[in-house]
Symmetry: C2
Subunit: 560 residues, 2 copies
């Protein structure tokens, strides 16, 4: 009787359960004339792509924060849209024009992504023109998660440093997303194509085993890579140094923040550069900032060399830091071959469960919601929302987490005790060209309308933020009892911006009495100390010296 | 001048940055007499461990949800505590007595873990006796995250199916935690020791490359593995079937839940077994439950065969399912070799960002906080808190997520629109022996006192739960305006338990009018239909038939 039930219930008479595997075999048969084993000559790549890609395929393009499969992407954009069309691109970062050419040319029509940065204006234009339909804008981990659920790639194009003739891949320090997209593809009978900078007899270490790889092509030039985490200390202002002092004395010290993630920018670089001076003078070495999940920012070098930062796991690498990373295996995650392996998945996980995230943003509203979205530009989110959101699945305790949780519960009267992640936004009240950072209403609302997004593109939600730091002071938002109080705490540190000028002075004074708003003097900080003398390194050259010459900045950062 | 600054700031005159690498080299030199290359004879393992493990080491023992490095764990427990002591064990699951013997015998003294299950009573006793100091109790991802931050293992003991003579490892379908602990260890100059069931000339696929592996030992018998996800359909009650009907018609249908995670237990097995019957009759095939992140529970077989569930990514595998998984590559993540690769990291990530989690629990309080902690037993958390918590870093939209977010915002008057994950707790009002599931106060509070924990061990927090389903009805907790209303919604579905009897009848009637409490009749569900006839499989034998004989249940589940 069960056989009958099953017969009725089957979705087709003779179900096939290996359609992907059979289809892949057919593609590989078509591709065979263009490959020698797994090796494909650069001139044979385009015909190979024609042979193995089908219309409607979901194609994952490596598109990392730094490293890009630029050659594969360029060749993909050369396909004939009358033959191959309606590709669905899944890609974490869009940074190169070829990555949007596939839409402009009608080869691809749908996009799921994380971050578009410099290409954000063109992407917004393509959306409005109907050339791109956006599936979703993600944070990194959620997009990787969907690779294993409903967005599994059919074909994936990745970049690695080198390959051997069997197809074993060595990524070098910029491993980044590669393990995630490679695994999702190789284990669902997808086709994994790697461009490499060189073919070698033996790779220094295996980052992706040959069994997972379909094809390898040596690109005509090394893959594109962007040094996005390098900040020249010469550009750090005294305002940023003052804010950094407040962060160290007002937050890192009382919360004993020892496991954290720093966002990208001059604000957090200032913190890094006064650890060996200011934090040292407060006796904080070994007590704060011991473990970080962050890319190997050159501005971390003095804090590492002076014994402040003891361990760093990296999402990616940073150009010029290779030799330094190799020489500091106690600090970084270096392989048996001596070079670093980054991994954005593990770095994002570790950072999410750390005690603190601190980052900057472009706009903040009166509830602490912040966004980097600006009009006519669709930028996406990247990793900040993951680092900068409450880790509600966290269960292990730490001093920082318990203290923040206790403070939040006292404010709201919550009955179930729970820890809380510290999420700090650090901004000057005015940006470049005297644009106020604070606003009554985020541009994100207008962008939602213009691009027909389901929600305003908020980077970090106000109810996830515990602290706001400006040059005026610190607002302890998680200690506010309700939205009205939170609003005044935000206004209370918003300086001379219109948002700040509309503060209720009496209420802000009360918040200051309660320690919810703290000015530098409340923290015992001497503002006159906030000079560039406090920076452990004041120039790129200083960073190179601190590194004993191991750090080799890209030429654009050198003026010597 | 910078050189002087640097000189002053350095933490030691001549800092060494390769202490781990040099120490590892020394250990390996001591271990060399007991190994032939990387291969270690089973009788040489104990002397090898003596040679390469030092007092105070952080040792990661694999310790998965299912697979265990049992031989390595047993041998570790044979070390001489006068020579090796104060090991710090990091281990996701504790299931075997040898895993606690290391504490009982004074070899290890500190433990960071996720879940202790059957060993929970003994662990609580060891804690009270001062033999174990607990670092933290974690969910899976947060412990893996700490492997890359402040809990990086010095020595890691893992289990794999086979190895070749170079040390390349094949894990088989139970890959589970292995990639996470192997990467953290190999890339911080740690020592990675694998026990394997067999040494072969060529592994079917490489799950961990030889370059990451220090030693391989063939264990005297295959590693321990536990089939924890198998539920015999014969034990499913009509009450569970009624609840499953409510979940499908009251939640999966209106929210169009198509990407989800099922907890472990008979309640969710009942849902799986009525997809091909009840959900089919509602026309829901292809509309709900298409993608799941879950272990390959045998009770999913009919839903797969009937075309309901189309894709599954697994955290681990399940004994007896190997051939079935191999024969369904379109559904599962099978490698080029044909066997499945599970990966708890990616499965947890995908599930966290899915639209819904549904699971069971042992105790629920009047705010919806739930716990599986019971007195005198320290069980830990595993993965449920991650699946069962708001994914605040999520940014991509879906119908389910937007609808739940809108409903929550309407209830609380939140001004910033945001999506919301559906977190469902599904329980009968009374457990075995007529113990009420609902309680005014969780046992977790008492356990916190007894074991001096920082917080009560809550599994899923009430403010993360959107829905509570009992045999009485569904409570839409996220639609409650405040804690008082939430309390009445909980009491309103708590049946004849003391918590249920203390309901405010008028308020519950109002909540029912507003659709916040729904009884079966409110959902148009005919209670008389809730019989075992609705199950697509009613026995283990039925599951085997559905699988065309591919599923081979372990003998304990066979009565034929």
């Amino acid at each position: 009787m069960m056989r009958d039930i099953k017969g009725d219930m089957r979705h087709q008479g003779e179900a096939r359960w290996d359609t992907l595997a059979r289809n892949t075999a057919a593609r590989q048969q078509r591709g065979a004339p263009y490959a020698n084993g797994k090796l494909v000559d650069k001139d044979a790549l385009l015909p190979l792509l024609r042979a193995v890609i089908e219309s409607g395929d979901r194609v994952c393009v490596e598109g990392n924060n730094q490293k890009h499969a630029d050659f594969l992407s360029q060749e993909l954009a050369k396909l004939d849209p009358t033959v191959v069309h309606d590709l669905h691109i899944v890609q974490s970062n869009i940074a190169l024009s070829s990555q949007l050419d596939v839409f402009e040319r009608g080869i691809a029509s749908r996009l799921d992504f994380c971050y578009s940065g410099e290409q954000g204006v063109r992407l917004a234009r393509l959306i409005k023109a109907g050339r791109v339909s956006i599936g979703g804008i993600h944070t990194y981990l959620e997009l990787y998660g969907r690779y294993f659920m409903d967005l599994t790639p059919r074909v994936t194009l990745i970049a690695a440093q080198s390959a051997d003739r069997h197809g074993n891949l060595y990524t070098g320090p910029n491993t980044e997303d590669t393990p995630a997209s490679a695994e999702a593809t190789a284990f669902k009978n997808g086709i994994l194509i790697a461009q490499v900078n060189e073919i070698v007899d033996e790779v220094p270490r295996i980052d992706v085993p040959a069994g997972w790889v379909s094809y390898v092509v040596q690109a005509p030039k090394p893959h594109y890579i962007e040094p996005i985490f390098t900040r020249d200390p010469a550009q750090i202002s005294e305002t940023q140094i003052l804010m950094a002092m407040m962060v160290i004395k007002g937050l890192y010290m009382p919360y004993e923040v020892n496991r954290l993630n720093h966002g990208i920018g001059f604000d957090t670089a200032a913190i890094e550069l006064i650890l060996p001076t200011y934090a040292e003078s407060l006796g904080l070495r070994g007590k704060i900032c011991s473990y970080m999940t962050v890319n190997p920012c050159p501005t971390l070098i003095p804090a590492i060399e002076s014994g402040f930062v003891r361990g760093i796991h990296c999402a990616g690498s940073e150009l010029g830091m290779e030799d330094y990373l190799r020489a500091r295996p106690d600090v970084f995650f270096d392989g048996p071959d001596g070079s670093m392996r980054s991994n954005r998945v593990f770095c994002q996980i570790a950072g999410h469960y750390a005690d603190l995230f601190i980052g900057s943003t472009l706009q903040i509203d009166t509830q602490g919601n912040s966004s980097t979205a600006t009009l006519n530009r669709i930028a996406g989110f990247g990793g900040a929302p993951n680092f900068g959101s409450e880790s509600r699945a966290r269960r292990h305790a730490s001093h920082a987490w318990l203290k923040a949780g206790r403070e939040a519960a006292e404010a709201t009267g919550a009955t179930m005790p729970r820890g809380r992640k510290l999420v700090v936004q650090m901004v000057e009240t005015f940006r470049d060209k005297m644009q106020p950072t604070f606003t009554e209403r985020l541009d994100a609302w207008q962008l939602q309308q213009e691009l027909s997004l389901e929600l305003p593109p908020v980077m970090v939600y106000g109810d996830d933020v515990t602290h706001l730091v400006t040059e005026e002071g610190i607002a302890h938002l998680h200690r506010c009892a309700n939205p009205a109080e939170r609003e005044q705490a935000v206004r209370g540190v918003a300086g001379f911006t219109p948002v700040g000028l509309r503060r209720d002075r009496e209420k802000v004074a009360e918040l200051r009495m309660r320690g919810i708003v703290q000015l530098p003097e409340d923290l015992g900080i001497d503002v006159s100390m906030a000079t560039r003398d406090l920076l452990a390194a004041r120039s790129m050259k200083d960073l190179v010296r601190w590194s004993d010459g191991l750090y080799a900045p890209p030429s654009r950062f050198r003026n010597w």
